[in-house]
């Protein structure tokens, strides 16, 4: 089998070759038939589909806001329309529990900042958006605390590595709040006070409380939730 012959056989598209004489090839050209080029049947099918959707969405009521606003909610109301749109300012999508929102700094039992200015979070931060200036702590068991704790929310990539890196549950991203729109870049920088303003008391174990900290923490916590 010659190479040229082989090539001809692999051609599957294009006009069918009826005869080859030297360099002249007689081909059969297939023209589309008028049934296909008039697009009539296809048009009718398409109009049927769009009309069905239109009529259904026009006449049937919206599904309940709850089943629309939650991603992956089962569609159990069959006699409703198919519109999924969440009307944002009026309805809001329920975020997943681990949604990473605006940062906050947690507090100790006595209301002091939990952060010990260990510099783990600014070190791990890929966007270099955390600035900490430590100062001497007046507590005997804790060496340092942040004098300045700033997060530039414009630079933050919301990766959550700072939360992972924190050894003492001082920084969290569980507020469920988006970064606020600002008119000035400077306003996007969260400082220690604003971060603490969203803060909650954390009763997580931190140094010197012994291996049975979980039991004592559960006793202290009104809800019995040891992670709060």
């Amino acid at each position: 089998m010659s190479a040229a012959h082989h090539e001809e056989e692999t051609v599957t598209e294009g006009p069918k070759v009826l005869a080859t004489r030297g360099r002249v090839r007689t081909v059969q050209v297939v023209r589309p038939n008028p049934h296909d080029t008039s697009f009539l049947a296809a048009t009718a099918t398409g109009l049927g589909i769009t009309l069905k959707h239109f009529a259904r969405n026009l006449f049937l009521p919206l599904r309940s806001a709850k089943s629309r606003a939650k991603a992956g909610a089962p569609v159990d109301e069959s006699w409703k329309n198919e519109i999924e749109t969440v009307q944002y300012p009026d309805e809001k999508v329920t975020y997943p529990e681990r949604f990473r929102g605006l940062h906050r700094l947690t507090l100790r039992e006595d209301g002091a900042v939990r952060c010990v200015a260990c510099m783990c979070c600014p070190t791990v931060c890929p966007a270099h958006c955390i600035t900490i200036v430590p100062e001497e702590s007046n507590s005997k068991s804790i060496e340092k605390r942040p004098a300045i704790f700033e997060i530039d929310e414009l630079r933050c990539v919301v990766c959550g590595l700072c939360v992972e890196a924190c050894p003492c549950d001082a920084i969290r991203m569980d507020t469920g709040v988006h970064a606020h729109p600002v008119e000035d870049r400077a306003d996007a920088i969260e400082n220690r006070e604003s971060l603490l303003g969203r803060g909650v008391r954390s009763i997580a174990h931190q140094g010197g409380e012994g291996p049975d900290w979980r039991a004592t923490a559960a006793e202290k916590s009104p809800s019995g939730d040891v992670n709060r």
Binding site: P34, T37, S38, F39, T43, G46, L47, I49, T50, L51, H53, F54, N57, L58, N81, E82, I83, E84, T85, Q87
Partner: protein, 389 residues
């Protein structure tokens, strides 16, 4: 001193009431309806939030917001454009559509002195000059024998709007868009005119008002739906509808404009000048619907509603209504038909993808044109054989 009825019968006054006060708002509403309908066809909500205080009306007020936005936007004129033609083009696109509405019969003739009494058709035949029939108001601005020819002639001028806009913009993409526009119009106007020839053969008239008043056959009452031309000219209806959509330059025939991707002839226009092109397109949709309703779907006729009330002669049943009620019903029926046909055009526009330029030409010249010629031949033959003349 003409009476109030005579003033109402002046063409300019009728144009003011019927076109400016009815058609323009309907066309503006279509800009909202199109977005809302397309959204619902795609399982979305569409624009539903525009409001004046608590008045929301499902977002209908979006068209007011759009109009305000377009009026107050900067009227930007690029450097090197031909200023005169640049300003003229939107007017050339908009004006012919508004003029063409003159031939549309919006409703029956109103006899104001007969408004509250039942108008028997026989009465009119006996003495049309009786005082009760004085001051008649014809709900058609321009009633002439060459009605539909007038429409073809005037609407062809609208095409100059696009072509001149493309040329005056000093932009090669706009120029190419203008050329595409004129080539498309040229291809489809032939088929459009010929596809209505069958209707002319059946009814023997070019005047839409007369087509509506008499229907296809003299043996049936004009209000009988089987006397309307959709049954007598089904091929003509499909052909005319197709060619007419091509004439409005909307998808699937939107290669002159190609809003999202290929750049059209009004690429250099902004603000209200662009708005005029936009509005002209939507008024054209209303106009096409009005023509199709008048020629093929009995215009203002309500099924089985004669001038004196509902009547089904085969059942011997009749319900007599005062003249004013009949007029309102018929006027409303025309409006309903036009709105439904507009919605059908929107449905087509949001269902079909755009034709390629060669598919467009193939469809126009190789399918629509021969079919419309065949339609004329077959109609003429049938008429010759079965009706004898």
């Amino acid at each position: 001193m003409p009476s109030i009825w005579q003033i109402l019968d002046f063409p300019a006054v009728k144009w003011l009431f019927l076109v400016l006060a009815l058609v323009m708002p309907l066309a503006s509403l279509l800009t909202w309806a199109e977005r809302r309908q397309s959204a619902m066809m795609q399982d979305r909500l569409g624009p539903n939030r525009a409001n004046i205080g608590p008045i929301k009306l499902k977002g209908i007020l979006h068209f007011v917001a759009d109009a305000l936005k377009m009026i107050f936007k900067e009227d930007f004129i690029p450097a090197n454009v031909h200023k005169g033609l640049f300003a003229l083009a939107p007017v050339l696109a908009l004006a012919p559509v508004l003029i063409a509405f003159a031939i549309i019969p919006f409703g029956p003739t109103i006899y104001p002195h007969h408004a509250l009494t039942v108008l028997h058709p026989g009465e009119l035949a006996i003495d049309p000059n009786a005082p009760a029939f004085a001051d008649a108001i014809r709900l058609q601005i321009f009633s002439v024998d060459y009605g539909l020819i007038f429409y073809f002639a005037v609407l062809t001028l609208a095409n100059y709007g696009g072509t001149i806009a493309g040329w005056a913009s000093y932009n090669k993409w706009a120029l190419l868009g203008g050329l595409r526009s004129s080539s498309q119009m040229m291809s489809y106007e032939v088929a459009m005119g010929l596809s209505l020839m069958g209707a002319f053969l059946v009814t023997g008239t070019l005047e839409p008002g007369a087509i509506v008043e008499h229907g296809a056959s003299a043996s049936l009452p004009a209000a009988n739906p089987f006397n309307w031309l959709w049954l007598w000219q089904p091929v003509g209806l499909v052909l005319f509808f197709t060619a007419a959509i091509a004439e409005t330059k909307r998808a699937p025939f939107d290669i002159p404009e190609g809003e999202p991707e290929i750049i059209g002839y009004f690429v250099e226009y902004s603000g209200i000048r662009w708005g005029m092109f936009f509005l002209a397109e939507f008024i054209e949709i209303v106009f096409i619907s009005a023509v199709i309703a008048s020629v093929f779907f009995g215009g203002w006729q309500v099924p089985f509603l004669d001038a004196d009330g509902f009547r089904i002669s085969s059942l011997g049943w009749a319900l007599y209504l005062p003249h004013i009620v009949v007029v309102l019903l018929q006027f409303g029926a025309f409006g309903l038909k036009v709105v439904l046909l507009c919605m059908f055009q929107l449905l087509i526009r949001w269902t079909l993808p755009r034709f390629r330029a060669d598919q467009l030409m193939n469809l126009g010249w190789k399918l629509l044109l021969p079919l419309s010629l065949a339609n004329i031949m077959v109609t003429a033959l049938i008429k010759l054989i079965f009706m004898g003349s």
